[in-house]
């Protein structure tokens, strides 16, 4: 009798356990399915100082550009700029404004689309009255409609129009903005805001320190200098 009772007790525990486990597996499965198919959406917003990154990249391209870099027996030496080559492409800082509308210098075909870059090379060893010898030029990128931040923003909005069960609810409370989910709108702004505007609001310094270079003069002397690139990207 005792043996039979024990056996039925064991059966009751096993059934309860199985039912409980099945219930929990069912609940977890339901949550998981809802999460993957209805709730979870991954959107990526990149936080970076695009202007600064582009300025540094452009400066890196310029210090090994064949129209600026010093050549030793036909070999381009990255980081050493030839003063004679600089004179062909750049103008002296004091002449920059008078030269800006009628440039007579050679141009370097390097530049981000829809942008203007002002490049300044400073000779830190030839200074008088706290003013160092420097050369300036500007680089223009081609105009590209698709690369405009406004067009990219509109494209982003077009790609993220959401027509689902929540549309009526969103339209009721937010009007036409209901076609987008709030996070999508925020990400479209975060990813497509023009870097110049972003830099203005974040008080970001644009390649403030510049890159170190050596400037080689025709007599063979080397001066320590810096190259600064200030980049402005249009809307």
């Amino acid at each position: 009798m005792f043996f039979i009772q024990q056996k039925s007790k064991g059966l009751a525990i096993t059934l309860s356990f199985i039912l409980g486990a099945l219930f929990s597996v069912g609940v977890l499965g339901l949550i998981f399915w809802l999460l993957i198919s209805r709730i979870l959406e991954i959107h990526v917003a990149v936080a970076e100082y695009t202007n600064e990154r582009h300025s540094i990249n452009l400066a890196n391209v310029l210090i090994s550009h064949k129209k600026l870099a010093y050549e030793d027996e036909g070999k381009i030496i990255r980081g050493i700029l030839d003063s004679e080559k600089i004179e062909k492409v750049f103008v002296k800082e004091e002449e920059f404004l008078s030269n800006i509308f009628s440039p007579t210098q050679e141009t370097i075909d390097v530049g981000y689309p829809n942008s203007v870059a002002i490049v300044r090379i400073v000779d830190l060893e030839e200074c008088s009255n706290e003013k160092c010898k420097s050369w300036v030029t500007n680089l223009y990128g081609p105009i590209s409609i698709q690369g405009l931040h406004v067009v990219k923003y509109l494209n982003c909005l077009k790609e993220h129009i959401k027509i689902d069960q929540g549309l009526i609810f969103r339209l009721t409370f937010t009007g036409l903005l209901g076609f987008w989910q709030p996070l999508d709108l925020a990400n479209c702004v975060a990813n497509n805001i023009p870097p110049t505007i972003k830099a203005f609001f974040t008080k970001q310094q644009i390649a403030y320190q510049g890159l170190p270079v050596l400037i080689r003069y025709p007599d063979g002397t080397l001066h320590v200098g810096r190259i600064f690139v200030v980049l402005s990207e249009f809307l």
């Binding site: 007790k9 009751a12 525990i13 309860s16 356990f17 039912l19 409980g20 486990a21 219930f23 929990s24 609940v27 977890l28 949550i31 993957i36 198919s37 979870l40 959406e41 991954i42 959107h43 990526v44 917003a45 990149v46 970076e48 990154r53 582009h54 990249n57 452009l58 890196n60 391209v61 210090i63 090994s64 064949k66 870099a69 070999k75 381009i76 990255r78 075909d109 390097v110 530049g111 981000y112 689309p113 829809n114 942008s115 990128g141 081609p142 590209s144 698709q146 690369g147 990219k152 494209n155 982003c156 790609e159 993220h160 990813n191």
Partner: protein, 134 residues
């Protein structure tokens, strides 16, 4: 005794739910988010445009291979110093929006679909960009 068995059952359910919500789900979500952040169009386009720019800073020969993911493939287009990336995710919860990023050198035009291996080569003034599926 039946009350005790019910208690054990309920305790097991509560335990499994707590484990799911505090351990398994966050771990799973963080893996998903990390994976999709790395392989998103926005990230891949920014990385690739930066690599294209960096290649121009090499005076002679440089070869760059970039494989953002072996699972996710992309549609890539180059036009007028712009790079457009459209991811081809197979899962519904990943963002499928495109991204356009710019670079400062001329690479010409190029278009390819269903690729995840980007190869860039610079020899002197000549650039070669192509992409394949890994």
């Amino acid at each position: 005794m039946p009350v005790a068995s019910e208690m054990i059952g309920i305790a097991l359910v509560i335990f499994s739910l707590i484990t799911f919500f505090t351990v398994i789900l966050p771990k799973y979500l963080s893996t998903i988010v990390e994976l999709f952040a790395k392989t998103s169009a926005e990230n891949v386009a920014r990385q690739l445009s930066a690599l294209i720019t960096v290649s121009a800073s090499s005076p002679y020969v440089i070869e760059i291979d970039y494989i953002p993911s072996r699972e996710v493939t992309y549609k890539v287009s180059l036009f007028g110093r712009n790079l457009k990336i459209i991811p081809q995710f197979k899962v519904g919860y990943a963002e499928k929006g495109s991204s356009i990023q710019t670079f400062p050198i001329d690479l010409g035009s190029y278009e390819s679909e269903n690729v995840n291996h980007f190869h860039l080569e610079k020899r002197g003034d000549e650039y070669v960009f192509h992409s394949t599926k890994e």
